[in-house]
């Protein structure tokens, strides 16, 4: 057994600290929901006006086509309205709606998936029989890494994420872009937390490869 495995203790890493909620914002959310449930027509319109644009932006991050994003938001809002009675008021209404939009977007992506899944293997590092890097990883110079902060480079990173095979693109969107935690990601993808970690790990390795090729000008 290698020393890294031998040294690993039982049990996983500590859980992240829970998010702090503002009681007055929660009270406003509960009141809005109560008005919708009481049949106040304008209250639902208010919900759309308050959260609709942000939720559409979430859907657009998952869907490649604008009309798909709009359909996702429509489906999600209808299903939110139907299930509004189950909103407990323990979390922000936006958070609750966000999860519904994410679920609707994932359903849409599953329905859209037609072409055969592209393999990620070509983007993963390879090792010699002795376990060392076959291709020496390249270090990016400081100007290149400073570019990460610039908006045009952010656009490039968005473009590189879009190149990942679908299951890997989705896990990066959920964990690093939408900031769902591992348990939430496992729930929306209906896979185990370990599977989320493994998939994210491979996605990040692939993203590193794409970024290295982009920043060092070594794209094939």
């Amino acid at each position: 057994m290698n020393p890294l495995r031998a040294a690993a203790p039982a049990g996983g890493p500590a859980q992240p600290a829970s998010k702090i909620l503002d009681p007055s914002e929660l009270a406003r959310d509960r009141e809005l929901v109560a008005r919708i449930l009481a049949g106040e027509e304008r209250a639902f319109e208010e919900l759309l006006a308050t959260y609709g644009a942000r939720l559409l932006a979430v859907a657009a991050r998952f869907c490649r086509e604008e009309h798909d994003a709009q359909d996702v938001v429509q489906d999600a809002m209808l299903s939110a309205f139907k299930g509004l009675g189950s909103y407990t008021g323990d979390a922000r209404l936006y958070t609750w709606l966000h999860r519904i939009v994410v679920n609707a977007a994932l359903m849409r992506l599953r329905a859209r998936r037609r072409r055969p899944e592209q393999s990620i293997e070509e983007l993963l590092p390879t090792f010699t029989a002795a376990g060392h890097h076959r291709e020496p990883p390249r270090r990016w110079d400081e100007p290149a890494s400073a570019k990460l902060e610039r908006s045009e480079t952010r656009k490039q990173i968005r473009h590189l994420i879009e190149q990942l095979p679908e299951p890997f693109r989705v896990v990066v969107l959920l964990r690093d872009i939408e900031e769902l935690d591992t348990a939430e990601t496992a729930q929306v993808l209906d896979i185990t937390e370990q599977a989320v970690k493994t998939r994210l790990h491979r996605a990040r390795q692939a993203l590193r490869t794409l970024l290295e090729r982009h920043l060092t000008g070594s794209e094939p």
């Binding site: 290698n2 020393p3 890294l4 495995r5 040294a7 690993a8 203790p9 996983g12 890493p13 500590a14 639902f44 319109e45 759309l48 006006a49 609709g52 644009a53 942000r54 559409l56 932006a57 991050r61 709009q70 938001v73 429509q74 809002m77 209808l78 139907k82 590092p125 090792f127 002795a130 376990g131 060392h132 890097h133 020496p136 990883p137 390249r138 270090r139 990016w140 890494s145 990460l148 902060e149 908006s151 480079t153 952010r154 990173i157 968005r158 994420i161 990066v172 690093d176 872009i177 939408e178 900031e179 970690k197 994210l200 790990h201 990040r204 390795q205 993203l207 590193r208 970024l211 290295e212």
Partner: protein, 127 residues
Amino acid sequence: MNCKDLRDKLYRYFEGLLPNAEEEAIDRHAEACPECAGLLKQWSETTCRDLLDFIDDYVDGTLAESVRTVFERHLAICTQCVDYLDGYRKAIDGARALGKAERAAPPASMPPELIAAILAARKEKRS
């Protein structure tokens, strides 16, 4: 052969890429130098592939101290893994910075026709 030469040739030594004479020189040096003998042992026990399995927990700072010590011992002798780790962090930071910027950006307004479609569909479902 001195300690620095040995360090520079570690990768090629373990990959069998060195001429026999140089391999023998490394073995002879390690027999006389406990520090380099330890380095050879360490290099043979923990590989770059092993390190990759623990990289996420290392980056997140959730790696147990005992594992982190082994991880960092490998980093101290392997510039390839230092460079790999550096790029891996940048990939994560890049994705997270993108997420932060996209979430903070003011969203485009909700198209009125979409609002109308949702309200109409809702009415239809209720009736």
